[in-house]
């Protein structure tokens, strides 16, 4: 990037954006939406598209944490369990003294962030491989769920939680608004702060990052902590959307978050990528699921169709660059 063509709107810059993976993924989403609207009446209705984005918000928020982790060279297999723990555990934190419902939310977020930090601790200090550490964490959380699930005979309805899950300020679902805020913060942290730069360096080569002075342990912990926080937030939103948490409510978000990250062009090997791709990646997944639901076919064929669509989209957006 020489100083000459650093002009903000130079042609090469526009070209770079248009040919970038996130843009491509967005274009695919738009294309699928347009085609689907012709095929199925109602698909393209504003209300429906808005609902799809609302659903995507949950995947997108989990994927925000996942993107951080993947870019830093790891993977978080505990996101599903954390979403569930948040959704099921929130009523346990109900405090009568707080009518706004904020305290339980903060408590749950603190808890899930702490769970993430423990993941990071295992990865950074015990040097347990991320897959193993987070898988083991998911197992622990299953045990925790046996203890907490069904234990809350009475759910204190939390006004803030149901607001997040149901309200539509300015006609936009609150979940989407939360996602927008999260997205902005995530993109800034990822691409405009030294912290973000350290993640990319760690993912591209942990040894070189270490020797360059990147504090590996604390950065790793931060990354998994963020992922725990995001999963917790997602858990609160699904809890609001469904009016009830239950064991298994987080299950769909594990593979979905990974798929969104990769469909968005982030390298699963770490070091390359952007959350800007995971955003359309999440919308894409929800869109495909909705399409499949509307198609009349046996479960077997639906499953085949779903897999084939993902594969086809991957061909368009998911090429892994060669690296040595």
């Amino acid at each position: 990037m020489s100083i000459r063509d650093a002009g903000f709107l130079s042609r090469s810059r526009i070209l770079a954006v248009v040919t970038s993976r996130p843009f491509l993924t967005f274009a695919i989403v738009a294309l699928v939406w347009i085609v689907a609207s012709f095929v199925s009446r109602g698909f393209g209705a504003y209300g429906h598209l808005r609902y799809l984005v609302e659903l995507a918000a949950v995947i997108g928020i989990v994927a925000a944490g996942q993107t951080f982790v993947v870019i830093a060279g790891g993977i978080d297999l505990s996101v599903a369990a954390i979403v569930t723990v948040a959704a099921v555990g929130l009523p346990l934190f109900a405090i009568d003294a707080d009518p706004t419902g904020l305290t339980p939310i903060l408590a749950v977020l603190a808890m899930t962030t702490a769970i993430g930090l423990v993941n990071g601790l295992g990865v950074a200090l015990l040097r347990v491989h991320p897959m193993i550490m987070t898988l083991a964490m998911a197992t622990f959380l299953q045990g925790l769920l046996i203890i907490i699930a069904g234990g809350s005979a009475v759910t204190a309805a939390n006004p803030l939680v149901s607001w997040v899950g149901n309200a539509r300020p300015l006609g936009i679902p609150a979940g989407i608004l939360v996602w927008v805020v999260i997205s902005v913060v995530v993109l800034v942290v990822m691409h405009a702060t030294p912290f973000g730069a350290r993640l990319f360096a760690m993912g591209a080569g942990p040894l070189a990052a270490k020797l360059s002075g990147v504090p590996i342990a604390s950065t790793t912990m931060a990354v998994y902590g963020i992922s725990g926080f995001m999963s917790g937030l997602a858990g609160i939103i699904v809890l609001g959307m469904n009016g009830q948490g239950y064991v298994g409510i987080g299950d769909p978000y594990l593979l979905a978050s990974i798929a969104a990250v990769v469909l968005g062009g982030t390298s699963i090997l770490g070091g390359l990528g952007t959350y800007a791709g995971s955003i359309p990646g999440a919308i894409l997944l929800v869109t495909i699921t909705a399409l499949i639901t509307v198609v009349n076919a046996s479960p077997g064929w639906r499953s085949i169709l779903f897999g084939t669509l993902i594969l086809a989209l991957l061909l368009l957006s998911g090429r892994e660059a060669a690296r040595r």
Binding site: L126, G143, G300, G307
Partner: protein, 323 residues
Amino acid sequence: MSNASISPHARSGSLYWAIQAKRNIGVRGLFVVVLAFMVAYGFLFHGLFTGSGFAKFTQSWFPLALVAMAQAILMLTGGISLAIGALVSLGAVLAATTMTGPLGVAGGTALVCLVGLGIGAATGVIVVRLRLPAIVVTLAGSFIIAGAALLVLPRPGGAMPPWLSDLLAGNTPAAFGVLVVVVLLWKLYLATPLGLSLYAAGENPVGAYRSGVPVDAARIAAYAISGLLCTGAGLFVAAQTGSGDPIIGNSFTLNSIAAAVLGGIGFLGGQGTMRGALAGSLLLSLMISVMFFLGFTPVAQYVAQGLIIIGAVAIPQFRMRAR
């Protein structure tokens, strides 16, 4: 040092074994852990040392051992598969719908093997030739394969010839015998130029290519073999259960990864050994029985399982650093 300088012919036969011995070093810690569990299990359940006790135990380990191998092969090439479970299911329903029909046991076995090889090879071509990330290709593949299993058998059913069930999963340790054969075949494959190239193709593909290694072929072959092992595991599960179930394999996907990583297989390709992966799968399987005999409640089971998995990976790390 000294044996290197003996004349080449005197020690040529030993090169292979010397290499094998070197490969054990990385997994010694795990072997000790597994052995400890084995001893604990034998202590808790004396029947383990009877023919049928041993047979039953190896039968519950067998399919996990196969899928751990299936996953490990891919990880050695720098790949991974999330379609392991779906392939096991497909193998099981294919076996349970063909073997008592006109195809018979031989025809059914051939079909199961061909499907595994074919799907594996196709996955390999997609991942390798189109340069797509394996993790999502196989995630998509898992839906396609699971869908196919549902088309073959929309709900649990089908049947296996009882004699085959009794042969493979009766009171004789036939499954263990088959496992030994599979491991020997793997050793044999690893002793072929293509097999040995797996490591180079996984760890340093550019260097391997420049050295004249058919990198793509080695990786695609790995996917094919992996597919075969999965549907083979499915066939065994069908024999063990006497029937087919289109979702029976689901949990093998994550378990295969856990077993392989527990066994020291790395994600970047070329790191780890099959003996490690097998030990990892054995540990996972042993853990279930040992926890039963220790009378763990479900909550304790989850907690202990998590701790054992982390411990088995972390403790050797610490021992290495302590040195």
